[in-house]
């Protein structure tokens, strides 16, 4: 009965620990979403700069992008944590430290995705905006970006998962995120498998939710460009007509067909 007792004890500890784990998980979700929001803003600004014909915008953007892509996330985390205070910028909360490090690192990767998708919008579209004398901000906002958006979502979805995974390291600067609470659970129970079962599965499920959310965004963006079905058509359990024949060319399915590309 020893073994059973032990299991029962584990289970009770786990039960007592539940709220803490949940709080940690919520913090990880927040860290990921706020970090991703910052990364997205940085990616769009740097990506537009890097894709601009003006050398004074493109040059600095390239340097910043390569710098933050080339040095490592952990190095940047330590910079924000240890070095920024020396410049008089002490960040009180480790949440902010984490958000900034995740934001600049994945923002730099995202900038490459933004820039690449801007240049992937067909040259005919760019030429049509010249023929209609549109100003640069106008053509970017109304014509080019809405089309580039559909192209960049898959890369951004990959980066979002990378960012979630990267967020697990932020606990070392003192953030009580999900990974930290898992570690606490290990300490009191010596149940390392908490990591393996609860930890990995929770991270995995959250990553799945994120990628499927991005997939829906992509379907919507493509539909707005006249490609593929609407989200409603995809989610409808019994399509009135076969989607493939209703929308020749592309039939994205919600599950499956994921191809995570590289971030490098």
């Amino acid at each position: 009965m020893d073994w059973l007792d032990q299991q029962q004890q584990y289970f009770e500890t786990l039960q007592n620990f539940g709220p803490r784990l949940w709080d940690g998980f919520v913090l990880t979700v927040q860290l990921t979403l706020v970090g991703a929001a910052l990364a997205f803003v940085i990616a769009v600004i740097l990506g537009l700069m890097a894709g601009s014909p003006n050398l004074w915008l493109r040059g600095p953007a390239r340097v910043i992008i390569e710098f933050f892509r080339g040095t490592s996330l952990l190095v940047q985390l330590f910079w924000v944590y240890y070095v920024l205070p020396l410049f008089g910028l002490t960040l009180e909360s480790s949440f902010t430290v984490g958000v900034i490090a995740l934001g600049v690192n994945y923002g730099a990767y995202g900038a490459e995705a933004v820039r690449a998708s801007l240049t992937s919008v067909s040259s005919g579209q760019w030429e049509a905006t010249v023929a209609l004398s549109m100003s640069w901000p106008h053509k970017i906002r109304r014509i080019i970006f809405p089309q580039a958006w559909a192209l960049m979502i898959p890369s951004l979805a990959n980066l979002l998962v990378h960012l979630l995974k990267g967020s697990a390291v932020v606990y070392i600067v003192g953030l009580n995120d999900f990974n930290f609470e898992l570690d606490q659970l290990r300490r009191v129970t010596d149940a390392w498998f908490a990591y393996a079962f609860i930890g990995l599965i929770a991270y995995f499920l959250f990553a799945l939710v994120l990628t499927q959310g991005m997939r829906l965004l992509e379907i919507r963006a493509k539909h707005r460009l006249g490609q593929g079905p609407t989200i409603r058509e995809i989610l409808s359990p019994a399509p009135k007509m076969p989607i493939a024949s209703a929308h020749p060319g592309s039939t994205p399915s919600l599950f499956g067909g994921k191809t995570p590309g590289g971030q490098g």
């Binding site: 080339g70 490592s72 330590f78 390291v169 070392i172 898992l182 990591y195 995995f204 990553a207 590289g262």
Partner: protein, 233 residues
């Protein structure tokens, strides 16, 4: 074994005396950081890449040749590993297999994690081999093993090299995650120097610049290779 206290020392609050950057100190600590870079960071990257490149190909082939339910299991297992944090994976093995050397854990985790990425690259490469090639091997009654070895893999491999290289660079920049299982890789060494001397700026910056100096030229080289391959096709 060492029990790890992952929480760091407090931020340097009072120690703002002296210049922010001290060249003498930077020169003094540089060799130690560079040694850690060569002995651990590069080692993990090289061994991890070799494991990932081989295992990735195995996964890609398994997904292709196994019957559907088994292939699906392999595929979702790969998805699972790919979509969960390396940091947590390192900690799972670290506390689960306490007899294992942390460096060995690093090889295994980085190798397997990136194998799941590389398998996708191989999959795309295998799919890009024209159907006619498969049909030709059938027409010549070649065995399955021979078909893969002599026809499919050589053709699939060519176009995959740049992507594999990019993942090797990604892995390289992920190696500091070994920090959490107290492997003395470059960033940990830099952080330790900082903690001992209360001078973080030089150590952390040197580590960052070494990363940049190693990864940027490699990325350029891979980019050029990619263009040349695209041009050759």
């Amino acid at each position: 074994m060492i029990t790890l206290t992952p929480l760091l020392t407090a931020q340097p609050a009072g120690d703002s005396s002296g210049p922010i950057w001290n060249w003498e100190f930077a020169v003094e600590i540089f060799p130690e950081i560079l040694t850690a870079f060569i002995q651990v960071t590069l080692l993990v990257t090289v061994v991890g890449t070799i494991i990932a490149a081989i295992l990735g190909l195995v996964i890609a082939i398994l997904i292709r040749v196994l019957p559907t339910p088994l292939a699906l299991i392999v595929r979702w297992a790969a998805n699972f590993i790919r979509m969960t944090p390396i940091v947590v994976q390192l900690l799972v093995l670290y506390y689960g297999f306490t007899w294992m050397d942390p460096l060995l854990i690093g090889f295994i985790v980085f190798g397997i994690h990136y194998a799941t990425y590389m398998s996708e690259v191989y999959r795309a490469g295998i799919e890009s081999v024209p159907k006619g090639q498969w049909e030709a091997t059938k027409a010549l009654s070649m065995s399955a093993g021979r078909t893969w070895r002599r026809v499919v893999i050589p053709q699939a491999l060519r176009s995959t090299i740049p992507s594999l290289g990019n993942y090797a660079i990604s892995m390289f920049k992920d190696t500091p995650f070994l920090f959490v299982i107290s492997v003395a890789e470059m960033v940990r060494v830099a952080q330790t120097i900082g903690a001992q001397t209360f001078r973080y700026t030089e150590a952390i910056t040197i580590a960052g610049l070494i990363f940049l100096a190693a990864s940027y030229p490699t990325a350029l080289l891979i980019n050029r290779l990619e263009k040349r391959l695209a041009y050759a096709n």
